[in-house]
């Protein structure tokens, strides 16, 4: 991971992620529809520029990939339970009530009114432009939200072969989640991109940024702002996203301390800026009395009345719970494949990429442990919760293992 990334694509990614954040910001302060629409068309313009710009002529596979996802998304109705009940419904509410905070009235609390709504706000903007709601097009804006993450990854992969290989794995392991209106594919992709950006921001010296001081400063600033916007987007996708951002930043600071590297002021500012929008959202949700049900007491026998900690203790004492959790989190076929690919890549190229592998392993492992804690403390029936959500949360670990395998292994082969 030493070759220079494509800074043109990174810059474009930075602009798109900024516009996506702006759309959310415009909704949060209730700006007029015209401004939101102009911002939406700016995103479309950047996408169009990517398709026709000479600077991006080497990304034909990526262009095809984006078109394929858009066609699939626009050629299917929203049927998945979570995609409808949580994301599409909240987008519909934002659109019809013309208010990002529509969910704070606590209508249908089982539909997770406390969840952050960045992608839903982009769907609502498109619905305002179209003028009516339907069950097809609103989810297609998820592909626009995906663009910055995808661009960052491909800009670091650089050669066409590795881009194609990576896109194949994205299709295999997260393809459906990206086009069906679910957030889990986006969370997985942003987890990878944020890990990549934070690693380069915190641990890479000037050599990848350019030849002269001016170029180095310019590219450093681009990556800094891209990191902020991608971090904000990840934290506003889903609660899992917030956990991931915390993990990534925490591990980056701990690695710095372990490596006896100085923590720069810039990095602390980065960490603070990333959390401001999600902090405001959580503050407003709490102020309005909207909480995630996860924080409540158990709602199935024998967990009724137990808090999270008591639920963990109770479940840890039952051997069948271990079997169940291992079945869904360890014997997941995607996870096994990704793990084997990652092991192979470590075996082939660990020496040259010690730091990045250690950073990826640390983050993937901590997130994996967090999943165990989450499932052991769930207020719902453990079997029901695992069977309904484990296949959706595993792609985050799968994608991070595969991306760094592909990028380091292919670079080593050259």
């Amino acid at each position: 991971m030493n070759a220079k990334p494509d800074w043109n694509l990174i810059f474009l990614s930075c602009l798109i992620s900024f516009c996506i954040f702006l759309n959310y910001f415009f909704w949060s302060v209730n700006f007029s529809q015209i401004i939101k629409s102009i911002n939406f068309f700016t995103i479309l313009f950047f996408l169009f520029y990517f398709f026709i710009g000479k600077k991006f002529k080497n990304y034909n596979y990526l262009r095809l990939f984006i078109i394929s996802l858009l066609i699939l998304s626009l050629g299917s109705v929203t049927v998945d339970w979570d995609a409808r009940s949580m994301w599409a419904f909240h987008a519909k509410r934002i659109f019809l009530d013309d208010n990002l905070y529509a969910g704070f009235d606590k209508y249908m609390p089982e539909l997770m009114n406390a969840y952050p709504l960045l992608p839903a706000s982009l769907s609502a903007t498109l619905a305002q432009i179209i003028g009516h709601w339907n069950e097809i097009y609103p989810k297609s804006t998820n592909i626009l939200v995906l663009l910055p993450a995808l661009f960052v990854q491909c800009s670091f992969l650089k050669n066409n072969k590795s881009i194609l290989l990576w896109l194949m794995f994205v299709l295999l392991f997260a393809g459906r989640a990206l086009v069906s209106g679910l957030m889990d594919g986006l969370v997985a992709m942003y987890f990878v991109s944020n890990c990549l950006i934070i690693y380069f921001l915190f641990f890479k010296e000037s050599s990848i940024y350019g030849r002269n001081l001016q170029e180095i400063n310019k590219n450093k600033n681009i990556l800094f702002f891209l990191g902020i916007f991608c971090g904000i987007i990840l934290s506003l996708l889903k609660n899992e996203g917030l956990v991931m951002v915390i993990l990534l930043l925490l591990s980056a600071f701990l690695f710095k301390i372990y490596l006896k590297k100085k923590i720069k002021k810039r990095e602390i500012i980065f960490g603070i800026l990333v959390f401001i929008p999600i902090f405001i959202w959580k503050l407003l949700a709490t102020y309005n009395g909207v909480y995630p049900p996860y924080l409540g007491t158990g709602n199935v026998e024998p967990l009724i009345g137990l808090n999270s900690f008591d639920r963990i203790i109770l479940r840890l004492s039952e051997i069948n719970n271990y079997k169940l959790v291992f079945k869904y989190l360890l014997l997941n076929e995607k996870f096994i494949i990704a793990f084997l690919i990652f092991l192979f890549s470590i075996y082939k190229s660990f020496e040259k990429n010690k730091l990045i592998y250690s950073f990826v392993i640390a983050n993937a492992l901590i997130y994996y442990i967090v999943l165990y804690i989450v499932y052991f403390s769930t207020p719902y029936d453990l079997y029901w919760h695992l069977s309904s959500s484990s296949t959706r949360v595993m792609p985050s670990i799968v994608m991070i293992l595969i991306f760094f395998s592909v990028s380091t292994f292919m670079k080593n082969k050259e």
Binding site: G75, S76, V77, M168
Partner: protein
Amino acid sequence: MKQKQKKNLLFLFLVLSICLIKLFHIGSQRIHFSPNILFHSFEKNYSDNLAVSDIVIEGNKLIKKINKSNFNLSNKLYSNGYFKQRIAEFSYPIRLDANSQFVLALSYEELSCSVRLKTQRLKLYEC
């Protein structure tokens, strides 16, 4: 050199084939892609019947006809998780409200209220 080119071509062919197969798999098996939906993707109410079941669309039509801002469900319909969630989403901005005087019920359910509208499977009572 030639061997390297051959290897590259083989790699390309293999990876592109897998991508194509997976795209077709997602389209046909996982999300039920249809060109008709694609060409009408921005049309109002297009393919609503594919997104929710017929009984939800039927219920939605009844609710819309009375032109009120809220409705309620009979105990039987309320306990049907699928119906409750889908009718609440699909009918929004008309809200599911436990205090509403307009109650949607299955056609064979008898409530001590007057029937305002009915279809083959559903009745809308005013209580």
